[in-house]
């Protein structure tokens, strides 16, 4: 199968043919060999064969270490860049409209990052210019305009988490104001296709909030002349004085005293579509912030505090000398962090040249801004460079430097640059000591920055990222809106976060007896007694179809089409992300399918059975489909169902030729019964992400060792992370 011809490989040649034998081990572990229909050994025999093969493979790897080779140049991904700016300059920005998105490979966007196209370089130069200006806060003559648009399918009838009690709808968002000064905030309300403000039947009140303080309150009045809504929100603008730096801006509606919505006909939680489930009350469409007017100066922002460690005194005799010392101090700190290494004399040349140019034009701070922009376009900032040490013989495994190790750690656990503690230990050469390394890993996992393991790693591993582009069919799933989409994402993030923070076994991800819910999601799941927009931990009893990842609305939705479930996609997802045996690409003879295609009007299960009778398809579909079927009790937005189209759901599934099970709990149990497979897959995903390269057959012994070492601690999350950071692929590299 999959082009694997075993008769060509001698069973004695395990050492010479490790690539082939690693494939065999993987297929045997997932019971995908021999093909369905052939006689199969019993489980004990399977295990015996697998472990004897593994012992030989591991022994061979021990004798000849191959830690693999990461690319010499890897540019930061957009996420990493954004986090690096946050940690370097205390500046939290959304750069999604400044830098291009990254392409993914093997499920992660930090692998194919060796290219630097002209368009990308242009973006880096523009970004450096914008960011350095914002960080230093130098006055400019032009106004900045930022518009924040609401998602069109955001329901705004209910309170929004984070906004004050007694309000409903609207939004709360962080915004960095470049200078002290006045800013105009303009509010536009959502309109339907007839250009009417949806839900405006009586007077409503809109307020603008700056850092929890109300700064403006408006009445919105239905127009006298019915139908003409063009001017009803023209007056929703306020000029407000704001101090430079990060603030929370909110725009929301005051809740009407009566609690019940006038929605007798449509008992949905979603209200955003004019024809199917209209807005009952007006909603926010967009907020535009323009400014600064009447700028008063750069203010005292976290960025300026971070950058200006010193300020030269006034124009005295020693001023020039003092200025010089001060700018060197500033640049030393910035470059050390940005380049992730000690600063050398050479490093100052170019930034100082930029500094002098800015200085002579517009003074000290302009000089620092210029110098900063030159640091931000340095390849030493933009790229992670790992070089073979001079004199290393070709094709030889060597230990990467302590500084390279520090960067690997911080980009793995934080998707960002190392902090001073990590750099200090790397510079002192103590980072490689196992107890120091372990202490750093545990410290870093506790740090807030490790949330990127959820927002960056897990969102890619589990395909949570795709939720944003999921739009279930409005007629079939009228209760779906952005509020639900975000709640689904949050549930999964919170479960993962509790696993990390409480250092639980990763197996609990599959069998959790608790989850996190707010009212919206609880209603969706049919779980009573959960009220309010905030999330809380909810203990579940045994027969609730909720808890583990496979029961999460998020995952069940991203593995469905917008009109129906897809056992194929779900099965594929399980094989790839939980079992580590993604089905091979479609076979070469797919064109032959055309003549043998099947009647599209049959029910999904029937159709897929026919599908599998075609030998070109059955190889993979007999692996994917039965896994997906076991999740058929969940509809395309993750709701529990007993029947579809008046037919009872048949949720029986099986591993190929092996264990038969029923429903989600059956699948979960089958996965947990073979923890090495699930944990090994997770470790492989983490290793791929941590190295930013494709994990190859020669990495398999390292993966097995991490899993083995994690077993005594029942695969606690931290034990796996520590295992990865101590592994050969993570600590070493192969020379070219």
């Amino acid at each position: 199968m999959g082009g694997l011809a075993l008769d060509l490989v001698s069973a004695h040649g395990v050492e010479e043919n490790s690539e082939t034998w690693e494939k065999v081990v993987r297929k045997l572990r997932a019971r995908q060999m021999p093909p369905v229909g052939s006689p199969r050994p019993d489980d004990a025999t399977y295990e015996a064969v697998v472990s004897s093969l593994e012992v030989s493979l591991d022994r061979a790897a021990e004798a000849q270490t191959n830690p693999g080779r990461t690319d010499t140049f890897r540019r930061l991904t957009r996420t990493e860049y954004q986090n690096a700016i946050r940690d370097l300059l205390a500046l939290e920005l959304d750069l999604s409209s400044v830098l291009p998105r990254d392409e993914s490979s093997q499920g992660f966007d930090n692998i194919t990052v060796t290219g630097l196209s002209p368009a990308l370089l242009e973006s880096y130069v523009s970004a450096a210019d914008k960011i350095s200006r914002l960080a230093v806060g130098r006055p400019v003559s032009s106004l900045a305009v930022d518009t924040i648009k609401m998602k069109p399918d955001l329901t705004q009838e209910f309170p929004f988490d984070g906004l004050p009690a007694g309000t409903r709808g609207g939004t709360l968002f962080p915004h960095t104001f470049p200078l002290d000064g006045e800013y105009e905030v303009v509010v536009r309300l959502a309109r339907d296709r007839d250009e009417q403000v949806a839900g405006l039947r009586q007077v409503h009140q809109v307020e603008i909030i700056l850092d929890r303080e109300r700064v403006a309150l408006f009445d919105v009045v239905p127009p006298k002349h019915v139908g003409d809504h063009s001017a009803v929100d023209d007056h929703l603008k306020a000029r407000i004085p704001v101090k430079a730096g990060p603030h929370q801006v909110g725009v929301t509606f005051l809740k009407k005293p009566w609690g019940v919505l006038e929605t007798d006909r449509k008992p949905y939680h979603a209200h955003f579509n004019a024809y199917r489930h209209p807005r009952v009350q007006p909603a926010l469409h967009e907020v535009t912030i323009t400014g600064p007017y009447d700028a008063k100066g750069p203010g005292d922002t976290p960025s300026r505090q971070r950058i200006f460690e010193c300020q030269p005194a006034g124009a005295t005799q020693q001023a020039a000398e003092e200025e010089d010392a001060c700018v060197r101090r500033i640049l030393t700190t910035l470059m050390r962090r940005a380049y992730r290494r000690p600063v050398t004399e050479r490093d100052f040349e170019s930034p100082l040249e930029f500094y002098r140019r800015g200085l002579s034009d517009d003074g000290f701070e302009a000089g620092v801004e210029m110098a900063l922009s030159s640091i931000l376009v340095s390849p030493e900032f933009l790229f992670r460079v790992e070089r073979d040490p001079a004199g290393t013989p070709p094709n030889t495994a060597y230990e990467i430097s302590d500084l390279e190790l520090a960067s690997r750690l911080s980009f793995f656990l934080w998707s960002s640059i190392p902090d001073d503690e990590l750099l200090n230990d790397a510079i002192q050469g103590s980072l490689r000591k196992p107890e120091v390394l372990e202490q750093h890993v545990k410290r870093m996992l506790k740090d807030r920055r490790s949330r990127t393991l959820l927002t960056n790693f897990a969102s890619q591993w589990l395909h949570l990222r795709n939720l944003e582009s999921v739009n279930p069919d409005m007629r079939l799933f009228p209760s779906f809106d952005d509020n639900l989409r975000q709640a689904m994402r949050r549930e999964t993030e919170l479960l993962l976060e509790s696993t990390i923070r409480e250092d639980r076994s990763v197996l609990d991800l599959l069998s959790s007896d608790y989850t996190y819910l707010n009212e919206r999601l609880a209603k969706h799941y049919g779980i009573p007694h959960v009220y309010g927009s905030w999330f809380r931990r909810v203990k579940l009893d045994g027969d609730t179809p909720r808890g583990g990842l496979l029961r999460h609305g998020s995952i069940l939705t991203v593995t469905s089409y917008n009109t129906r479930t897809s056992p194929v996609i779900r099965g594929h997802w399980v094989l790839e992300n939980l079992m580590g045996v993604p089905p091979p690409p479609a076979p070469a003879d797919v064109p032959a399918l055309e003549d043998k295609t099947i009647d599209g009007s049959l029910a999904v299960r029937e159709r897929l059975i026919q599908h599998r009778s075609n030998p070109a398809c059955s190889g993979c579909h007999s692996l994917m489909d039965p896994l997906g079927f076991s999740l058929e009790n969940y509809d395309a937005v993750g709701r529990w169902r007993q029947a579809e189209a008046e037919q009872p759901i048949d949720a029986s599934g099986n591993f190929p030729g092996g264990a038969r099970f029923k429903g989600v709990s059956g699948l979960e149990k089958a996965l947990i019964d073979r923890p090495d497979m699930f944990v090994g897959t997770l470790v492989e995903k983490l290793l791929t992400y941590s190295l930013g390269r494709v994990v190859e057959h020669y990495d398999a012994p390292a993966v097995r060792k991490i899993v083995r070492d994690g077993r005594p601690e029942r695969f606690r999350f931290a034990s796996l992370i520590v295992g990865i950071t101590k592994s050969k692929p993570f600590q070493m590299r192969r020379s070219l």
């Binding site: 692998i111 196209s117 370089l121 242009e122 523009s126 089409y561 997802w573 797919v590």
Partner: protein, 444 residues
């Protein structure tokens, strides 16, 4: 008439035209007595390539006529008003895209090359036809080429197994190892074309600052090269090429600051929520870019392979990708064909707009060539034969429409690429797996 050599830059007049009306080429804009060759009066030729994913229902696509487009097929109906500018080319093939995948449908469309099966950074394809053109006819403009797309969100797990996503998402490759990312955010496109705003003095200052930043990048990158193996040195050389290219762009932008004001086109703020609105805005930006002669080569991915977008606005709630695996269910095929037609209607929007935009002695459409089509034929079978392909525009007098070129045998798409290149003034003997040219199109 007073003969004056002072030509008025045409872009001065772009102010105020908005998105729909363009100013005719006034006599005053043609520098008196200068060679027409170097002025807008002998309009430049532009090349555009539009990609649609997952083939089409070829039965409803193929025009009935043997050699004429007098009668349009159901899918091509939206082209009625511009059909005199359109030629359908039937039975084109991408042989090197086999075995059939979504990744290679996208990657072979403009390269006609075989994609190396890899998910690592050693991906390898071929230089795409738009980039060959850009190297020849794009060097005088600020942007040698413009790569556009429609998908802004980051998606995982939707690329063909075994192929890095660069194959499935990037139409344009400037070398076999250099995919060019596309831009889908209208504001970013606008800013790449017309800068980030501000007064002329501010813009000049920003551009100067950027130029010196690039100097710095260049010297730092050169320094990186020391002590590297040859493959890593090649990588560094590619980085340096990018630096030089951006330097060139900034120089052109700098000289243009004074005479090229930003057009009076509402600076796009966000991304329109509706697909068609977004697509039309991207087409508007293409027209602006061509009209202002900021670029002469454009590629545009109107949707990506395996897209599961559902087109509720035309009454199709089923997502596109599963519909294309229709299993010969007539109902599903009909729905898929509706989507095919919808995409064509957006292309028609572009063509009509180009036609309505005066340029030199004709319209922008007269002086452009656009190819429209897919790298997949029958999506139900993932094949790459009998591709839906259109050619449109006047090509500066080199191309005549209203025709149907119908091959009896599958013919390399590379033949058509080679033909259009020649018409754009790029002479090559062969391209990828080409076996000749499309003779019917050669003689106007």
């Amino acid at each position: 008439m007073i003969i004056t050599r002072k030509a008025l830059p045409r872009r001065t007049f772009l102010r105020g035209i908005g998105a729909t009306v363009a100013l005719p080429l006034l006599d005053a804009m043609v520098p008196a007595m200068t060679a027409l060759a170097s002025t807008a009066a002998r309009p430049v030729r532009r090349l555009g390539y539009i990609f649609i994913p997952m083939g089409s229902d070829i039965n409803r696509w193929t025009p009935p006529g043997e050699d004429s487009l007098a009668e349009l097929s159901p899918i091509l109906k939206p082209l009625e008003r511009v059909k005199d500018y359109v030629t359908a080319v039937t039975n084109m093939e991408l042989e090197l895209a086999y075995p059939g995948t979504h990744a290679t449908s996208n990657s072979a469309y403009l390269s006609c090359a075989k994609a190396k099966l890899t998910e690592s950074t050693d991906y390898y394809l071929g230089t795409t036809v738009d980039q060959i053109a850009a190297k020849e006819i794009g060097q005088a403009t600020q942007l040698p080429s413009l790569e556009l797309g429609m998908d802004l969100l980051e998606i995982v797990g939707q690329c063909d197994d075994g192929f890095a996503c660069v194959y499935q998402n990037n139409l344009s490759w400037s070398s076999p190892t250099t995919p060019l990312p596309y831009e889908a955010h209208p504001r970013k496109v606008f800013e790449r074309l017309f800068g980030e705003g501000g007064s002329a003095a501010e813009r000049t200052k920003t551009l100067q600052k950027k130029a010196s930043m690039l100097d710095r990048v260049k010297s730092d990158i050169s320094r990186l090269q020391r002590g590297l193996g040859s493959s890593d040195r090649t990588k560094v050389d590619q980085y340096l090429d990018s630096v030089r290219e951006v330097e060139r762009r900034i120089q052109i932008a700098e000289t243009g600051v004074a005479e090229n004001p930003v057009p009076d086109f509402e600076r796009p703020v966000g991304v329109p929520a509706a697909y068609a609105d977004h697509a039309k805005l991207m087409f508007d930006l293409q027209v602006l870019a061509l009209q202002a002669d900021i670029t002469r080569v454009i590629t545009f991915q109107l949707a990506r392979e395996t897209s599961t977008r559902s087109y509720n606005e035309i009454g199709i709630s089923e997502p596109h990708h599963p519909l294309t695996h229709h299993g010969n269910d007539p109902e599903k095929i009909a729905k898929m064909a509706k989507i095919n037609e919808y995409h064509v209607s957006l292309f028609a929007y572009l063509l009509e707009k180009l036609k309505a935009t005066p340029d030199g002695d004709g319209s922008l459409l007269d002086h452009s060539m656009y190819m429209y089509g897919s790298g997949m034929g029958n999506p139900n079978a993932h094949d790459h034969t009998n591709l839906p392909i259109l050619v449109a525009g006047g090509g500066g007098g080199k191309l005549k429409g209203g025709r149907h070129v119908r091959y009896a045998e599958p013919t390399p798409l590379a033949n058509l690429h080679l033909t259009l290149l020649e018409k754009a003034g790029v002479r090559m003997d062969s391209f990828a797996d080409s076996q000749g040219k499309v003779e019917e199109l050669l003689s106007i």
